[in-house]
Symmetry: C2
Subunit: 192 residues, 2 copies
């Protein structure tokens, strides 16, 4: 039962069977069809979600209706409006399934309880968050430093499995450029 997430947590920490069992008991399974919304602005966000299968995007719509993708998630990733989740604020993001997807939701209160009962999970999530923090820092450094073409190539290198599954439109949104610009970049790189 839920071998994906068991493998995922066991990679980082050595849990006892009973601890894993307790963790699993907290999860709720969610099925989403393509284009279905998991979170929309003003929702209260009580869950973070582990992706068992499928592909999703987290994005923000600005005042002028432009879409800005902050995160993709495929198998083995966590996704949520983390700002809303951790700070108990209303959502600002949309989270939408790009493909039919299966998720495991973890409720914030259940998570707090779990931290108290089994501090190893506090450790697990500290390590996960630390890794995420570090990789956001490199993403910022990259946007400060690199040309759009370089960032596009890096994206393809770093996330080949995502690049194959989302449209160029999505990738352009993620990189912070217009789809037309990405098309030009791809033309110059001879990638069509």
């Amino acid at each position: 039962m839920y071998p994906e997430i068991i493998k995922h947590i066991s990679q980082e920490i050595d849990f006892k069977a009973s601890e894993i069992e307790e963790f699993i008991s907290l999860l709720s399974e969610i099925h989403l069809s393509k284009k279905e919304l998991l979170i929309r602005p003003n929702d209260s966000v009580n869950y973070e979600y582990f992706v068992v299968s499928g592909c999703l995007k987290a994005y923000y719509l600005d005042e002028s209706g432009e879409r800005h993708i902050i995160q993709f998630a495929i198998e083995d990733w966590w996704i949520s409006d983390f700002e809303a989740f951790f700070n108990k604020e209303p959502a600002k993001l949309y989270i939408e399934a790009i493909e039919d997807s299966v998720l495991l939701g973890l409720h914030c209160d259940a998570l707090e309880e779990l931290f108290k009962r089994i501090p190893k999970f506090e450790r697990f999530f500290r390590i996960k968050t630390t890794n995420a923090f570090v990789s956001l820092r490199s993403r910022i450094l990259e946007t400060l430093q690199k040309s759009s073409a370089e960032r596009y190539l890096n994206f393809c290198n770093k996330y080949p499995n995502i690049e194959k599954r989302v449209t160029n439109h999505h990738i352009a949104n993620y990189l912070g450029i217009q789809p037309e610009s990405l098309s030009r970049i791809r033309k110059e790189l001879l990638l069509h």
Copy 2:
């Protein structure tokens, strides 16, 4: 002794006096003069640093010698080359004092030990890292979304204490634009 950091950790978690004492015993005091380097590329980074007083910048020099500031730190902030620190890799960043500064260094091994002995510190650093993670996400969303002028105004609003203490050159580096462009932005905003 070290009232600043005691206040800092007590704001988040209720520690016993003995726990605080143990924590304090792990810290080493570092004094830096203006322009002195705390970390330079290829250093091994065994410490993260709490700023007691002063002001520092963490930056990357790219191949063409451009400087990109990823973080400022003033009183009450933590600073390090976190990627190098957490992943035990050689540093890629410079960390330099903008003013004479006093720091408290926390060694990675001491920190690991502390986590084992007092899990509340694991909790403390999980919460700190989570907050940092969330604010990096908004920083990314902001660079995807907003004009340079808007980002400059946001910076001034969000970090008035930093804005007062660093040069416009530094702020431009942080925002990812040229100092000349920032000067023009300020002119249009009538801020000289």
